[in-house]
């Protein structure tokens, strides 16, 4: 088997790490490398939590504290072996993370970082007040790690323990991101609406990264306790919480390897400053902190996405993703027989305070039909759409799918019925590849969870999902852009991409919100052809559209709204002549 070229730097780095302590380097370099390793673990957690998941946390140092204190207490007061306390430390970290996470992931907007600062500080102060934890002075006399009686006292020996954990964590985190669950997590950043519409459980995804970040922080704390062999609350306060974030951002908060790079960069720069500055300016004043602050600002001004993207440019490019062709086919839904009622909107009403946006609207979408929902601006089209997809809740009335009520269901539950949608303001993940964006649509067609992804046991399923995504991309004609970041696409292509993503969900019905907006004439014709083809395959479509010309030639059935009420419905030709429609459209102009 030929090694992938892009793996070479990684293998070289690991080889370098393996021989590093054996080189004739000053012992302090080892100590520094150990500190870098410990910080990297926390920073990797932050990359997943903040850089990928969009949850800014300044409280990670508190989880280090839980890991460190757990083993400190158990080994000193109860004589546990350090290896026994490892799972216990991680467990305590996770156990604390669950309730904290449940609270934290519910915090919105600016409340989130403050929330993490608040509990981070409360826990930090608590550490220093508890008798069992040795109050302010902490716990001393923690035993070193040992294997068969050989204690890991030296910096060299614990170096290997630390870095094995760092590399395993980094690879595991990379695996996690490059998976079905990972796509759900990565989709959190854009607000998560798109992810939710394809069945990702947002709260669960947030909780997963939160707990993951907590566990790796606790791991760092456990290692820290056995390296320092004394523990006190100082390193678990807000200062370190901020510093970990700083490392993640300097490294590039979206990149796992950036976390390691950022930790190394920050710690090495601090070290250099501490040694160089007194020689430059004398020992009379302490300018290290000033220089470090200025340097930090300068780095962000020069590289606001962090330093890793610059390093990554030096690496050989990633080869094109190979998608195996001989994969198991995904199960497909049986489509409802043509003409049977699929979606039924019954006297749906939505009021915002006193304003009635949708007033007792009723209509039906039958299987195998393309139904258009049209009306002037402010007619209530988008609100109706949101009522069907579960983003807005009904004030009264009901929406049902094949006779089952959808009322009160979340977008995620609605997605499970095979109802797939696109968005008026396209919600794609610009940093993710086109293929991965589409694969997000197939989320519900896979089942691999965190552990399987982390351990890379999800490959067969993952290949199936990617193959499906690739198929849908070819189907809509975007196959050639597969490996490009989705953000590179033109607006029209992004709309098509959203359709491909919806198709990857194996839908019985597509809900398209203004799919033709921003498309050129030729693109519109291609879109119409695609929708016609889907109709032939039995897929139903409900589309909200502005472009009358596009709609008229395409749909089987037309529903017209004005000021929140249904003013006409029927075949396009009939509706076009309907006096109320004429009045609504022309009246608005005249």
């Amino acid at each position: 088997m030929m090694a992938n070229k892009h793996l070479m730097p990684g293998i070289a780095a690991i080889a370098l790490l393996a021989v590093f302590p054996l080189l004739p380097v000053p012992p302090f370099w080892i100590t520094l490398a150990n500190n870098i390793g410990l910080a990297s673990l926390v920073a990797i957690g932050l990359v997943l939590l903040t850089g990928v998941g969009g949850l800014t946390s300044f409280g990670q140092a508190a989880f280090c504290g839980f890991g460190a204190y757990t083993t400190a207490v158990l080994t000193t007061a109860y004589g546990f072996s350090p290896w026994v306390t490892l799972p216990l430390s991680l467990l305590v970290g996770a156990a604390v993370a669950v309730p904290l996470g449940l609270m934290t992931v519910r915090l919105s907007g600016h409340y989130l970082p403050l929330g993490t600062i608040a509990w981070g500080l409360a826990i930090y102060y608590l550490f220093g007040r508890i008798e069992l934890l040795g109050r302010y002075d902490g716990i001393t006399g923690i035993p070193p790690l040992n294997i068969a009686g050989y204690p890991f006292l030296s910096g060299q020996s614990i170096f290997y323990v630390i870095w094995v954990f760092v590399i395993l964590t980094a690879i595991g985190a990379q695996n996690l991101l490059d998976s079905r669950t990972g796509r759900g997590i990565r989709a959190l950043r854009g607000g998560g609406q798109a992810a939710e519409a394809f069945g990702v459980n947002i709260i669960r995804a947030k909780l997963i990264v939160f707990i993951f970040a907590a566990i790796v922080a606790a791991l760092s704390g456990w290692l820290y306790a056995h390296m320092q062999r004394s523990v006190n609350s100082t390193p678990f306060g807000l200062n370190m919480g901020i510093e970990y974030m700083l490392m993640a951002v300097v490294g590039g908060s979206g990149y796992i390897w950036g976390a390691i790079f950022g930790s190394a960069f920050v710690l090495i720069v601090k070290e250099i400053l501490q040694r160089v500055m007194p020689e430059l300016v004398g020992t009379g004043i302490n300018v290290e902190m000033v220089v470090f602050g200025v340097l930090l600002v300068a780095i962000l001004q020069l590289a606001r996405n962090g330093l890793w993207p610059m390093v990554a440019r030096l690496m050989p490019p990633k080869g094109q993703l190979q998608i195996p062709t001989s994969v198991r086919k995904l199960a497909k839904r049986t489509l409802a027989p043509a003409g049977s009622p699929l979606i039924k909107v019954d006297r749906a009403r939505k009021a915002f305070g006193g304003l009635v946006a949708v007033s007792d609207v009723s209509f039906e979408v039958k299987a195998g039909q393309i139904v258009g929902l049209i009306g002037p601006n402010g007619a209530g089209k988008s609100t109706t759409f949101n009522l069907i997809t579960g983003i807005a809740s009904l004030t009264s009335g009901s929406v049902s799918y094949q006779g089952q009520p959808l009322t009160g269901n979340s977008p995620r539950e609605i997605a499970k019925h095979g109802i797939a949608r696109t968005f008026q303001h396209a919600k794609i993940l610009p940093d993710m590849s086109v293929l991965e964006n589409v694969a997000l649509g197939a989320h519900l067609r896979g089942s691999a969870g965190v552990l399987r992804s982390f351990l890379r046991m999800d490959r067969e399923e993952e290949a199936t999902l990617l193959a499906e995504a690739a198929y849908q991309l070819d189907r809509v004609g975007l196959g050639q852009y597969r490996d490009r970041p989705a953000g590179d696409l033109a607006l029209g292509q992004i709309r098509i991409l959203e359709i491909a993503r919806a198709l990857a969900a194996d839908p019985t019905i597509l809900l398209l919100d203004e799919p033709a907006a921003g498309l050129r004439h030729g693109e519109k014709q291609e879109l119409a052809a695609l929708l016609n083809k889907l109709r032939q395959e039995g897929v139903s479509v409900l589309l909200v559209e502005h472009d009358m010309g596009f709609v008229m030639g395409l749909v089987d059935h037309l529903v017209v709204l004005d000021f929140g009420t249904l003013i006409a419905e029927g075949r396009p030709a009939e509706v076009r002549r309907h006096p109320a429609v004429v009045a609504a459209y022309l009246g608005g102009v005249a």
Partner: protein
């Protein structure tokens, strides 16, 4: 990206330049004759302790017993992790013969751990608790609270104090004093009726002061250091408390007097003798070194710049000047034999008449100070004075 591009990229060129520049920094230092590693907080919450220490280190001699002195001073910002890292580096890279630090207790504990592990004589510049001071390699320079407490509590008993309200730092230092007050204080008939804590950077201690006074104490006891002690001192007077106030040694600085102003009347301070070296009787064993230190320090940093903290490292030098020649007879600096010999010599070469008292280290006692290390003071006109003994 090719190598040329790489070098053209100004950013990476910058990083490369920094890396190259830093190479000598990381290289092993040339072995000086006697190497001392000091880790103290010159930034962060302990900077008020660390900076006078740093200044005092500048007053150290260039050599001891003909051996040149190389001093490596690192900042630990009061963080035990950094202090431990610094100590490891002193031990492993710089191969120091002696290490000192840190000035805050948790950080000093961290450094003591490394000293014990690698076998380097270590001077803690903070009153670390007994389990740490029992360590073979660690010697404690500042007075442990019990040395100061005995003198203070005796005086409180003489003053007729029974009920005491404690207001102190919510840290290791405050904790040490409240425990002293609760445990040893009992023997002097003292009862702690309020135990209030605050942080140095708190902007208000009104709640603590109100509660301390509401407990109707005979006296208020302040367990805080530096200007941080001024807030409760002013607070209790503002709230009309007229009884005596007792303040621990950490607060005995001129900055404290400057801020507390008129509020220090009827306040008694415990202190090391250094703050009033001039006022000591001529036969006092601490006078000569005290005056020498003050002359050097205030000569360099200005009149009235003395603090309670700076001279601890001067004391360390007093000890080393006597112990190093003894150790030199056994081994050469830079060897583990020398470190072991020095450790033994520190234990056996006392007593050391230093600025903060007379150190007499023994294998059982690494605090070394007795009652000569404690004096009681009052403040008048912005100056500290020895408190006349009560008969």
């Amino acid at each position: 990206m090719s190598w040329e591009d790489f070098m053209k990229n100004r950013f990476f060129a910058g990083i490369a330049a920094i890396a190259v520049m830093s190479l000598p920094v990381f290289a092993n230092p040339a072995l000086a004759d006697i190497t001392i590693g000091v880790t103290i907080p010159t930034t962060g919450p302990g900077a008020a302790l660390g900076i006078p220490l740093k200044n005092s280190i500048e007053l150290w001699p260039k050599e001891i017993a003909g051996e040149k002195l190389k001093v490596i001073l690192l900042d630990d910002a009061g963080d035990p992790s950094i202090a431990t890292t610094n100590a490891r580096r002193f031990a492993n890279d710089d191969k120091v013969d002696v290490m000192m630090g840190s000035a805050l207790t948790p950080a000093a504990i961290g450094a003591a751990g490394v000293a014990a592990e690698v076998g380097v004589p270590h001077f803690a510049i903070s009153p670390v608790p007994p389990p740490v001071a029992k360590g073979k390699w660690t010697f404690v320079l500042p007075q442990y609270s019990s040395v100061l407490a005995k003198r203070m509590f005796t005086r409180m008993k003489q003053d007729g104090v029974k009920r005491v309200s404690f207001i102190g730092f919510a840290d290791s230092y405050g904790q040490q004093w409240v425990e002293e007050l609760k445990n040893t204080g009992k023997e002097y008939g003292l009862e702690v009726v309020a135990d209030e804590r605050y942080a140095r950077a708190d902007t208000s201690v009104s709640g603590q002061v109100l509660k301390a006074i509401a407990a109707k104490p005979d006296a208020v006891f302040i367990g805080a250091s530096g200007t941080g002690a001024a807030l409760p001192q002013i607070g209790v007077r503002e709230r009309g408390f007229t009884g005596p106030v007792y303040v621990v040694s950490g607060a005995v600085t001129f900055e404290f007097l400057r801020i507390a102003g008129k509020a220090v009347e009827n306040t008694i301070f415990s202190s090391g003798p250094i703050m009033v070296a001039e006022d000591q009787p001529d036969d006092s064993p601490t006078k000569a070194e005290g005056l020498a230190y003050l002359k050097a320090y205030e000569g360099k940093f200005g009149p009235n710049s003395r603090t309670q903290f700076g001279s601890h490292v001067w004391d360390a030098m007093v000890i080393l000047k006597k112990a190093v020649p003894v150790a030199l007879q056994k081994a050469k600096p830079g060897t583990s034999e020398f470190r072991a010999a020095l450790r033994d010599a520190i234990e056996s070469s006392g007593p050391y008449n230093a600025t903060h008292g007379v150190f007499q280290f023994t294998p059982q006692d690494h605090y070394g100070l007795d009652q000569r290390g404690a004096v009681l003071l009052t403040a008048k006109d912005g100056k500290f004075q020895l408190l006349p003994e009560k008969k």
